[in-house]
């Protein structure tokens, strides 16, 4: 196991190296960064001094080396546009993105896995087919459109809808169901971490963005769990479990579900990366003050240091999550825990 983890760790380093190379190349491709950093009125001498100070006169591999060393120590340079350290800017916005991503990942798992199990077990049932059809529509709807639709229904329509009297018993006020559609709501600072998870307001503000962000992953997980369930239910050990007379619940949720977990963990791990990336869109729709929104502004303004740092950060998350996934395999699958040499002789 240790050897395996070390191997994966080296692979991760390689990935980070390539991503760093790409980030570094972006600076080179755009042209002279000095022009991006100074105004028209800066003299040639000042520019030359800046070039020297930034190390732009060094050979390219030396510059790349400095870039990596700086990145490892958390220095991603100054934003062209804001003239502030990129690392600080990212860190300020990191909590918003991470909380949003975490909540939507949980949402997609908690809803997606049971739906997948259900559709796998009742493959010809009406509800199962309905879920599958809806999931196809869910995949076809672009994330931003889902966000807009949610805002339209839960913010616009709910706010304008008149109260609905239910006979003479009570009245439903749709405006009470209205959800906040912009920003994080009330937040609380814990150290440098600004959280929206501790206030009702902040939690309410999370509902629509996390549904928007999680819906695609939800359909993906549902379909994956479904097809894995169908696969596992055909295996000999499930047949044998039935032949042993085990209760359906034990077979479906004990034996079958556990065997679908390995692929689900893999995909979930991969998807966390894409959740963070798709947060760019969700954050834009809901004006969520996260890293994604900042990255988008950086793209629009060609603020390469932010783009490069964001790319490296995402890659770092990706690599870390993959290492965690690898270790989770060991928890789930006993076949990986024991050395292969321990198999007993023929009997």
């Amino acid at each position: 196991m240790v050897a395996f983890i070390i191997r994966r760790f080296i692979q991760s380093l390689f990935v980070m190296f390539v991503v760093a190379l790409v980030s570094f190349a972006m600076f080179q491709f755009i042209g002279d960064p000095v022009n991006q950093m100074v105004g028209i009125e800066t003299s040639l001498a000042e520019r030359a001094a800046l070039r020297e100070r930034l190390g732009l006169n060094d050979p390219i591999y030396v510059q790349f080396w400095h870039y990596i060393v700086n990145a490892v120590s958390g220095d991603f340079g100054l934003s062209y546009q804001h003239k502030r350290p990129v690392a600080d800017m990212l860190l300020e916005r990191l909590p918003a993105t991470l909380e949003l991503s975490l909540v939507s990942a949980l949402f997609s798992l908690i809803v997606g896995i049971p739906m997948g199990v259900y559709t796998g077990l009742n493959r010809d049932g009406f509800l199962a087919k309905l879920f599958l059809t809806i999931s196809l529509i869910g995949i076809s709807l672009p994330t931003f459109l889902i966000g807009i639709l949610l805002i339209f229904v839960f913010s616009v329509m709910m706010a304008n809808a008149p109260p609905i009297p239910v006979f003479d018993l009570f009245t439903i006020y749709p405006s009470a169901l209205q959800l906040p559609s912009f920003g994080r709501g009330t937040t609380v600072d814990i150290g440098s971490w600004r959280t929206g998870l501790l206030t009702t307001d902040g939690l309410k503000a999370l509902i629509m963005p996390s549904i928007t962000l999680g819906l695609f992953q939800l359909t993906l997980i549902m379909r994956l769990v479904r097809s894995e369930m169908l696969e596992v239910l055909r295996t000999d050990y499930i047949k044998f479990a039935r032949a042993r007379g085990l209760a359906n619940r034990a077979i479906n949720f004990g034996h079958a579900l556990k065997n679908t977990l390995v692929p689900v963990i893999t995909i979930t791990g991969l998807q966390v990366g894409s959740i963070i990336a798709f947060a760019i869109i969700t954050e834009t729709v809901f004006q969520w003050p996260g890293m994604g929104q900042m990255f988008l502004l950086a793209v629009q303004n060609v603020d390469i240091p932010i783009m490069a740092a964001y790319l490296m950060l995402i890659a770092f998350f990706f690599v870390v999550i993959n290492l965690i996934v690898d270790m989770l395999y060991y928890v789930v699958d006993p076949r990986l825990r024991v050395d292969a040499g321990k198999v007993s002789g023929h009997g």
Binding site: S140, P142, V156, G273, I280, L296, Q300, M307
Partner: protein, 331 residues
């Protein structure tokens, strides 16, 4: 499909590279095949095909179909702005789906917008297909260090979502043109080029992986070996013999990728790094309309949104069906 009915070449009759089926033969076989049969039996697929066809017709004949020319800024009248759909109280018959903030007829804008979206979608699918097939063929056929390198890159790129890669490429290319003013390009052309490049370059991996896999299988087959032995150039072998064999899966990927490309284009345009509002695509229309959602002019964003969703859904359904039809093993 891949059962005993497939004719197996008799041993000894190995060197028959010229005896591969031609195109006409292929077309004939298509209508005789299980694929056509399963198409006829699936009403959803027929519906999806009809809708897709409708969009294609709209895209091609847009200028003749659309009641107005939404790209002609001179004809727009701000007095016509934000008129609701025809069936609503303040609606007007000349604008069936209402107008946007510029006084543009939404129906015409949607027709033209679909055209823009589909053109960019097709162009970028074509680009990623060419890159992906090329790299996949080279990777599978040449093997060795080149193969390892290409596949490693593919793996790394694949671990990043396409939309992120597209945004990065988009930012870099825009930055390049900003800092290199010697390239004289107008804004709309630039937007098209940037979109096609960024979407195309972010989606080649799937083609490359599939083609490489099939190439590895085909490469070791006897007819390829035989062609190799009698001195046919490797490029010729790939072109004539390997490529036709990988077209099935490539077609499936291309269909699904078309839906993805349309979504990506719309997303980029919605995020403000795509097609400019002067000649809007569906995504741009939604972006523009989004600002009016709260003031009650919902139609400006909901109609283009629905048009986009229907197009993508139809193409996705087609892709789904095609995948199952060409690969019965997947149920």
């Amino acid at each position: 499909m891949a059962d005993a009915r497939m004719p197996t070449p008799a041993p000894g009759s190995v060197a028959v590279p010229t005896a591969r089926p031609g195109l006409a033969d292929g077309v004939h076989r298509f209508f005789d095949s299980d694929v056509w049969f399963s198409f006829k039996r699936s009403p959803i697929t027929i519906g999806a095909a009809a809708v897709t066809l409708l969009y294609f017709v709209m895209a091609v004949f847009g200028p003749w179909i659309a009641p107005h020319d939404p790209f002609d800024l001179a004809k727009l009248d701000l007095l016509d702005s934000l008129i609701p759909p025809a069936w609503m109280a303040d609606g007007e018959a000349r604008f069936p789906l209402g107008t946007d903030d510029q006084g543009r007829d939404l129906l015409s804008a949607i027709i033209y917008g679909s055209r823009v979206s589909l053109v960019i979608g097709f162009a970028s699918v074509l680009l990623s297909m060419v890159i992906g097939i090329g790299l996949g063929l080279i990777s599978g056929f040449v093997g060795g260090a080149i193969d390892a390198f290409i596949m490693r890159m593919a793996e790394i790129q694949l671990s990043f979502p396409a939309i992120l890669v597209a945004l990065l490429i988009n930012g870099v290319i825009i930055g390049y043109f900003k800092t290199h003013p010697e390239w004289q390009v107008d804004q709309v052309t630039l937007a098209y080029v940037v979109l096609v490049l960024s979407i195309g370059l972010s989606n080649w991996v799937q083609y490359a992986r599939t083609v490489r896999g099939s190439t590895l299988v085909e490469r070791n087959k006897e007819y390829v070996q035989a062609a190799h032995v009698i001195g046919i150039h490797p490029a010729m072998i790939m072109w004539r013999h390997i490529l036709p064999n990988v077209m099935g899966p490539v077609l499936v990927i291309a269909t699904i990728q078309l839906a993805l490309a349309v979504i990506t284009e719309a997303t980029l345009s919605f995020l403000g790094v795509g097609v400019p509002p002067t000649e809007p695509s569906l995504g741009t229309l939604i972006r523009v309309g989004n600002d009016y959602l709260f003031s009650g002019e919902w139609w400006v964003t909901i109609f283009p949104g629905a048009a986009l969703a229907i197009l993508v859904l139809a193409v996705n359904l087609l892709g789904d069906w095609l995948r199952d039809a060409l690969n019965p093993k997947l149920r």
